[in-house]
């Protein structure tokens, strides 16, 4: 079997974003970069992409991990994703006066 250019990626969705995924905690997306995975998520779950991106960049207070690694240390939206990888989305726990 040849390697698919659109591998299925498991994506774990936090509570706050589950209204977009019909309350599913784990959904499937495709793509070989994080940007493609997010585009695929947004195609399946309209509006989800906007909760993750702002002006084409990852939102500052959304953390996304590929397996155990924060994507900010792997090239952010350009991070490579391959079949069998698990993507986890977690909103930052943060606050303050600014």
């Amino acid at each position: 079997m040849t390697e698919s250019s659109n591998p299925a990626i498991e994506v774990r969705v936090p509570t706050i974003l589950r209204p977009y995924t019909k309350n599913e905690k784990v959904v499937t997306a495709t793509g070989s970069t994080l940007a493609e995975v997010i585009a695929s998520l947004d195609a399946s779950y309209a509006g989800l992409g906007e909760r993750l991106l702002e002006k084409g960049e990852l939102r500052r207070f959304i953390n996304i991990y590929i397996n155990d690694e924060d994507v900010r240390f792997m090239g952010s939206l350009g991070a490579t994703v391959k079949a069998g990888d698990s993507v986890t989305i977690l909103p930052a726990v943060a606050g303050g006066r600014m």
């Binding site: 509570t15 991990y65 930052a92 726990v93 943060a94 303050g96 006066r97």
Partner: protein, 137 residues
């Protein structure tokens, strides 16, 4: 809804807030799924190390969510300290609040200026803040 919280947890949170002053202190109280009372206090590192901002370290955050998944727990309380202002959520606290099921607890360490300790709890859902009573057990 009333927040029920153990005296030992309140004392430990106040102590942590003093220890980490002038930085904001933060952490969580975890509860078994669907329980109405927190069981396990977990102090978190404020990765921002700031008197005006707090943020859980990104790796710690992932580890925390994995841990509660494995233990069939949920985040019952998310707390942080305000160093000089009242124990009320700031605009930023409200905009980043993303656990609608959690109690958001604010502790103020401004007792260095005014003597009473403030330990107050809120629900923050869709940007709406609702204060709730705190019952210390």
């Amino acid at each position: 809804m009333t927040l029920k919280v153990l005296r030992a947890h309140v004392d430990a949170i106040v102590q942590q807030s003093r220890d980490e002053y002038p930085d904001e202190a933060c952490g969580v109280i975890l509860a078994p799924l669907a329980a109405d009372q927190g069981q396990r206090l977990k102090l978190m590192v404020n990765a921002a190390h700031s008197p005006t901002f707090y943020e859980f370290d990104s790796k710690d955050l992932l580890a925390l969510y994995r841990e509660i998944d494995d233990n069939e727990e949920e985040i019952h309380v998310i707390y942080h300290s305000h160093t000089e202002t009242e124990a009320y959520p700031s605009r930023t606290d409200i905009s980043y609040a993303s656990e609608p099921g959690a109690h958001y607890v604010l502790v103020s360490t401004r007792e260095v200026i005014a003597p009473a300790i403030e330990f107050r709890s809120y629900r923050i859902v869709d940007g709406i803040v609702t204060e709730e009573p705190v019952e210390i057990l």
